[in-house]
């Protein structure tokens, strides 16, 4: 096997390994991003409700309605 063939084989092996690693990384990072995005959106939606509930809780009992 010539030096050029060995070099081509080496590059092909590195390419396959790189592609495999990138696919695995994408598969692992995807659920993290999806869950983080949903959690961030939920917290943003829930914050005004929680603030309102906290404000109501501080009012005297007679004024809570």
């Amino acid at each position: 096997m010539s030096a050029i063939e060995r070099l081509v084989d080496f590059i092909a092996a590195q390419y396959r390994w790189g592609l495999h690693s990138i696919k695995l990384f994408a598969a692992l990072i995807a659920p993290v991003l999806v869950v983080w995005l949903a959690d961030w959106r939920l917290r943003a939606l829930a914050r005004p409700i929680e603030e309102e509930e906290a404000r109501i809780a501080q009012l005297p009992r007679t004024r809570r309605r």
Binding site: S21, L24, F25, A27, L28, A30, P31, V32, V34, V35, W36, A38, D39, R41, L42, L45, A46, I49, E50, E53
Partner: protein, 220 residues
């Protein structure tokens, strides 16, 4: 397990609301991240599963992650420990994992039966999303986001299972029992209906079907 790990992290989030969800999901996938790190090292890596997915490795990884959280004074070190630890029983359902350093791999290997894997993981996602939803006020717009989250996780799982069914060219090989052992022929004869049911529900691979036919033939 794939989407199921993220779902388990969602269910655990209720226990410690101050813990960032991204950290919790990373911990739930902890052994997989460790495996990816080992694989990214130069050279060949036979048996990385033993170093990342065996019971001692999972215990060590969970302890290290919890210790790191405690050292950084982040809340929820205990929850991170549990999330990392739950990776092993979850993977036991869908794959075949080592128990100790070396020895036989055990597990239900549902990756070999992608439809069953999809059903199981979807059920886990639905249950865990329902538990996660209880951490938020009961309102329509919040519920909608949680339903979208669950649907996204199930869609990701469907993509993985389709890829598995296309690429993986192997039969379903659960290994809780010794592979060589077969049921006694007389028992099979007495329960012909059970055999017929097993034959019907067995994964449609050539080898499994042939094995069942051979067993039924031997019994009769």
């Amino acid at each position: 397990m794939y989407a199921g790990h993220a779902a388990i992290a969602l269910a655990l989030k209720r226990r410690e609301p101050r813990l960032p969800i991204a950290l919790l999901v990373i911990a739930a996938f902890g052994p997989d991240w460790a495996e990816l790190l080992l694989m990214s090292l130069p050279g060949k890596h036979p048996g990385t599963a033993v170093l990342t997915h065996s019971i001692p490795a999972v215990l060590i990884g969970a302890s290290l992650a919890a210790a790191l959280m405690a050292a950084m004074r982040l809340p929820g070190a205990k929850i991170v420990f549990i999330a990392w630890l739950l990776h092993w029983p979850a993977d036991l359902l869908t794959g075949r994992k080592p128990m100790l350093f070396g020895g036989r791999l055990i597990g239900l290997d549902l990756y070999g039966a992608p439809v069953a894997d999809f059903v199981l993981e979807s059920v886990v996602v639905v249950i865990c999303c329902a538990l996660y939803a209880r951490a938020f006020p009961s309102r329509g717009d919040l519920r909608r986001v949680i339903v979208i989250l669950g649907a996204a996780l199930i869609a990701m799982q469907a993509a993985v299972d389709v890829a598995l069914s296309v690429m993986r060219n192997s039969e379903w090989t659960p290994s809780f029992a010794v592979v060589e052992r077969r049921s006694h022929p007389r028992t099979l004869r007495a329960h012909g209906l059970t055999v017929a049911a097993c034959l019907h529900f067995a994964p449609r691979t050539h080898d499994t079907r042939e094995r069942w036919r051979w067993t039924v033939h031997e019994a009769s």
